[in-house]
Assembly symmetry: C2
Homo-oligomer: 380 residues x 2
Amino acid sequence: MPLKVAQRGRIPPFIVMEVMQAAADRVAAGGDVIHLEVGQPSTGAPRKVVEAAHAALDAHVLGYTLPFGSARLRQRIADHYRDLYGVAVPVERIAVTVGSSGAFLLAFLAAFDPGDRVGIAAPGYSCYRQILTAVGVEPVSIPVGPATGSKLTVEALAGIETLDGLIVASPSNPTGGVLTDVELAALIEWCRARGARLVSDEIYHGITYGVAAGTAANAPDVITINSFSKYFSMTGWRLGWMVVPPDLVRGIEVLAQNLFISPPSLSQVACVAAFDCAEELDGHVARYARNRDILLDELPRAGFDRLAPAEGAFYIYADVSRYTNDSGAFCKRILAETGVACTPGIDFDPAEGHRFMRLAYPRSEAEVAEAARRLKAWKK
Amino acid sequence: MPLKVAQRGRIPPFIVMEVMQAAADRVAAGGDVIHLEVGQPSTGAPRKVVEAAHAALDAHVLGYTLPFGSARLRQRIADHYRDLYGVAVPVERIAVTVGSSGAFLLAFLAAFDPGDRVGIAAPGYSCYRQILTAVGVEPVSIPVGPATGSKLTVEALAGIETLDGLIVASPSNPTGGVLTDVELAALIEWCRARGARLVSDEIYHGITYGVAAGTAANAPDVITINSFSKYFSMTGWRLGWMVVPPDLVRGIEVLAQNLFISPPSLSQVACVAAFDCAEELDGHVARYARNRDILLDELPRAGFDRLAPAEGAFYIYADVSRYTNDSGAFCKRILAETGVACTPGIDFDPAEGHRFMRLAYPRSEAEVAEAARRLKAWKK
């Protein structure tokens, strides 16, 4: 008797991981690759975090923690909101999670029921759409184009009447759009007026270029999500956190107990030190800023001159419609012919992404400069 | 406008974690606790794993891996099946996961659609029930009592006509029941005849007392799940794995990309060494065996003489119906009056668990002996 394969296993792939695989295959075959496909710093964890991890390996049993994480790390995160934003967040509302990925899953399960409709930006981080779909929630694409500065603002919501929820990312992946405090407050009000739950993805906070990103952590009805992966340069440590609204604390705690037990313990011990590494981490951001300058200068010379604003995060989202109507094939060609790995826009926007590609630049300056050189030579 | 809280956030808690919280509160208030509530070794990772982790901290960036984990660890797991069981498992079918918890979530999403009916043993690991419920699948309790040796066998399935899936754990939590190769093969046949997907939870393999647990990894239609948490003594490292049937590989890979990105990287590098630590780890199992002997000798003297077989894992499941009809209140009283933390049976069996409690014994011999002494004194 043939066994069943569930319909919901048939969600689209996270295409950047497919590009990673193609790039890995190229390396395995003896080729070289400049990795502009994946949104992770080329650097490892900050030095003090590594030192703390060494110490913890020798001193701790590293068993399960409580499902919301260690008291010490939760307190340190609360302190971070106080110190950086001047926002008081009760430690009881802070949940440490298995990356921001774990936070999204818990948030979506706790806040939305099957059949609910949740707005997401297009283009936007593709996993929102896929996680929502996997748990039976309907993602509603909100086109976010040049008219709203490639940002999900209240203006971009014109014509949308009701939603059960809304996910907003600032700085955004892939456009780099950054919402100010005022723009974010307007979204919070829009959601309140309609009974929609706002999820504020702030995982690129700390990585902005001349603009300040607002936080929703002072709004007690918003689920605010952050991560140690991006600014803190610790992707593989799989640790994130969220600020949970009081009415969702118990639901999310129970889901976290059952679905995760607890986040990785060594990461939890070590990440307490991450908040004392501003000098090292801001050095990374200064490098991202230089890489961004290189690409904003050089890409137009390679013919890529229709670029999203890139005010934050470490991405450039380029309109490549003058070259292709199939960004997937286009990125494959670039990888095959130049060794530069980029991600096709279809990972971020099922409707329009075939006309776009994303370049991620949290690499060394030399790599980014070499990628720009190869793209220019390729487009000649 | 009041915001919505999803129905599915209203699943029952994983009660053992509530007991952990009560125990932590008692310690915070200056009390002492002997932790027989939680199924985690009191020991840390084996020495060679800790050494490998130190080396990896200095040598690796520790970024994301591919969603199924590092090629090296996947190969090492395939070798483990060959060496220990004589079973050839293609490395393409091995997925490294965020603990077995992550494996269960991925398996249930990929194999079952909302409304499907999946059999689970009662008593059994409570998170099966809650994860299934959270993703819209209906858990079907299969009473597993003394008549089938407290094991989920084909005999226990008498009267069940159709299921979309079946989850079986051997060694089982909480009864310690172990399925032989023959018993497991009969379950595989039962499922095949009915088109039910079997999930074989083998996370307590390596911890048995005079009996051998069969593996389902040689059955290509079964989802076989294992973990570094129990035998390998690495709960907080959050690493497990599964052997995925060919027809589910792509669905589970795509779900893993979107829901987890990848498992913790440092754990992946370090766990390659875990398979070379048999001497140290078998020493732990010898200690569990001594602790088991202590409890099987002493508990009857404390009046707890109706015990499940405890052939494997590190649990004793005791019928306490002669003392209470409310095991939750009973365990609270034991904690308050003796400092011994135990888990009420309601965590494992909503229907009958109010008459049972579970004692976990992967602690030091001194702790287990002291717990037995206190329980005897308390029952006098």
